[in-house]
């Protein structure tokens, strides 16, 4: 086949692909847009609700605690949960990115960078890390004061460390995968 003929034939072939025109109305879209907002609000309120429960629980622990270390753990836990609430309320709820704002390559790069940074722990770290020291200190203090619970706390800590030992390298591997795709994109653009 002649090479000057083939591409047009492929174009004609390609146009045969679509068969089912989309059946969606403006009302459907308005409804979907509202659902999207409702979903984001619900997710945010769920996180805020869980944090409120954590604050209430450690508030009770603070007053019921016998040792200073337990109280420190409780205060840090409350501060960590309060930090999550502030982060969620401070950040404007976003249902979807602005897809029209940038060209496809910049958008793709931004998506890859976002995914890479997520797997490297950026963003999540800013609210998850402050949440960790409080419960850890509280648990250690609890086990020190009540030796019969020490094996349980040790088991809990071991489980946490094992999960971290699996999750962290996996995420870093995924981050490297996204970095490779970013490098390939840079190479493609510089060709």
């Amino acid at each position: 086949m002649r090479s000057d003929y083939l591409p047009d034939d492929l174009k004609r072939l390609w146009k045969e692909l679509a068969s089912n025109p989309v059946r969606i109305s403006p009302d459907d879209l308005r409804r979907e847009a509202r659902k999207l907002w409702a979903g984001v609000r619900l997710r945010n309120w769920f996180v805020v609700g869980v944090c409120c429960i954590i604050i209430a629980a450690y508030g009770v622990f603070f007053f019921a605690s016998k040792t200073a270390l337990e109280r420190i753990g409780s205060v840090l836990s409350i501060a960590g949960a309060a930090n999550v609430i502030v982060q969620f309320l401070k950040r404007p709820a976003r249902t979807m990115p602005d897809f029209a704002a940038i060209e496809c390559i910049r958008f793709y790069r931004a998506e890859l960078q976002r995914q890479r940074d997520f797997h490297r722990g950026r963003g999540v770290g800013s609210w998850l890390l402050p949440l960790l020291p409080g419960p850890i200190i509280f648990n250690v203090a609890f086990a020190l004061d009540r030796p019969m619970f020490a094996p349980l706390v040790k088991l809990q800590m071991a489980g946490f460390l094992m999960a971290a030992a699996i999750v962290v390298p996996l995420n870093l591997r995924l981050a490297r995968k996204y970095q490779r795709r970013l490098d390939a994109l840079d190479a493609a653009q510089n060709q």
Partner: protein, 175 residues
Amino acid sequence: MSAKSGQEEYWRQAADEYGAALERLAWAYEADPDRRRDLLQEIHLALWRSFENFDARCSLRTWIYRVAHNVATSHVTRKKRNAPVFLTLEDIEAQEAPQNVEESADRQKALARLLALVQRLEFVDRQLILAYLEGLDAESMSQITGLSAANVWTRIHRIKNVLVRQFHSGGTDAK
């Protein structure tokens, strides 16, 4: 025209004039029928929302394709499981040549083969070849992707040649 009615008007125009092209675009990004339907709905929703801010600084067509490609890119990048294996043009060329089209003598099979080749291209190449297959000019492709017009042509030429070689082994007619 109020902003709300303008939004609806633009979306109707997009759905009427580019509905089929958007469906083909969804095919190029998503092989699974259910997920493809979701993706198409997501594209229409994103278009609907984007038209609140459409300022006609670029053509409606450029706007629509940019939104659609970006939604599809986000859709595929988000997907962790069964992530597609993207191939560079060199990888595709190195693969075994597919079965001859005349031998299959079936346009559906030929179309499926073309689709399979398109679906495996990296995003930038995929966006360009889709724009090419839809008949867009280099300037529009440049505005949609952000590549320079010269780069667009160079890449299109390469992708086209690879696709053509892969599609037809031995120089037979697709008809």
